[in-house]
């Protein structure tokens, strides 16, 4: 059922992909759909479905219904193949997921208006200066997505202060330092969203990310 691959799979699913009822039937068993629709409604249900479609598509070519997503005690999604790592995120009608046989983290955020205090609460002046954008909402969203992706890769929750993570830049590459670990972090813009992913920095030369868009 699972694909064998050495790279990282990143799948991005937009809400228009959900409009066809066949998509739901292709990806979800009736039990899974019953569980999801019983626990979530409206946009929350939509985003949950998008995230799950993304992760199923990232690990399997066609046996999507057989991909079972569970959550560990820390709320981190896990697959029923222990050696594979996965990460899921969704934001306002866009779902993304990454899968790989090495540690990864992903995040996505719609760029929206933010109070300046948010930027100051998650980043230092030095980190902010590493970003060239004029729009402060884009800067704060990029910094958030980078650090949140690392937070997910580490399996730590919202309680881990983002100010304890330090973003560095070498030429065009960003990395995030957390305690003794260093993570390669990439963010990019797509249709008003910031999408990001990370993986351990030491294997940067070997890692290729294959991105699939479903829309």
């Amino acid at each position: 059922m699972f694909q064998e691959f050495m790279h990282m799979q990143l799948v991005v699913v937009s809400s228009s992909y959900l409009s066809d009822k066949v998509v739901e039937e292709e990806y979800f068993s009736s039990d899974e759909l019953t569980y999801l629709s019983g626990n979530f409604q409206g946009n929350k249900l939509r985003d949950k479905l998008l995230g799950r479609i993304a992760v199923k598509h990232s690990v399997s070519e066609n046996d999507f219904k057989k991909v079972i997503i569970q959550y560990n005690n820390f709320g981190k999604p896990v697959l029923d193949i222990s050696s594979m790592f996965c990460s899921i995120a969704h934001s306002y009608g866009l779902g993304i997921a990454g899968a790989a046989f090495f540690k990864i983290g992903v995040d996505v955020e719609l760029i929206r208006n933010h109070e300046e205090s948010l930027l100051r609460s998650i980043a230092s002046e030095e980190e902010i200066s590493l970003f060239d954008e004029e729009n402060p909402d884009t800067i704060v969203t990029k910094i958030w997505v980078m650090k949140e992706a690392v937070s997910k890769a580490l399996g730590v929750g919202i309680a881990y202060p983002f100010t304890d993570m330090k973003i560095e830049k070498d030429k065009k590459d960003y990395s995030v330092i957390v305690e003794c670990s260093k993570w390669f972090a990439k963010v990019f813009l797509r249709e008003g969203y910031v999408i990001g992913y990370c993986y351990p920095y030491e294997e940067i030369q070997k890692r290729i990310v294959k991105i699939t868009y479903l829309q």
Partner: protein
């Protein structure tokens, strides 16, 4: 100036871009805070504008706007000491 439950509801409406008067104390938090970025922004505003320090790990345990307000109100005196 001390915060009140109504003032906290107004802050939540502003942070989470809700229409004025659209939420009340019984509104589930997850209906207004779409993700953790919203929660951290709310916490940063409380700290910067109202000098109230909130632990993110604690605030995510609450389920309604009233519980958020109760938590914040119970911490505003502690934070100023």
């Amino acid at each position: 100036m001390k915060l009140t439950e109504q003032k906290i509801i107004e802050i939540i409406e502003a942070v989470f871009e809700q229409k004025r008067g659209s939420i009340n104390s019984a509104t589930p938090l997850e209906d207004v805070a779409k993700d953790s970025m919203d929660i951290i922004e709310f916490i940063s505003i409380l700290k910067n504008k109202h000098n109230i320090v909130i632990n993110p790990a604690e605030i995510i345990k609450v389920t309604t706007v009233k519980e958020v307000a109760d938590y914040v109100l119970s911490h505003q005196d502690i934070s100023k000491n």
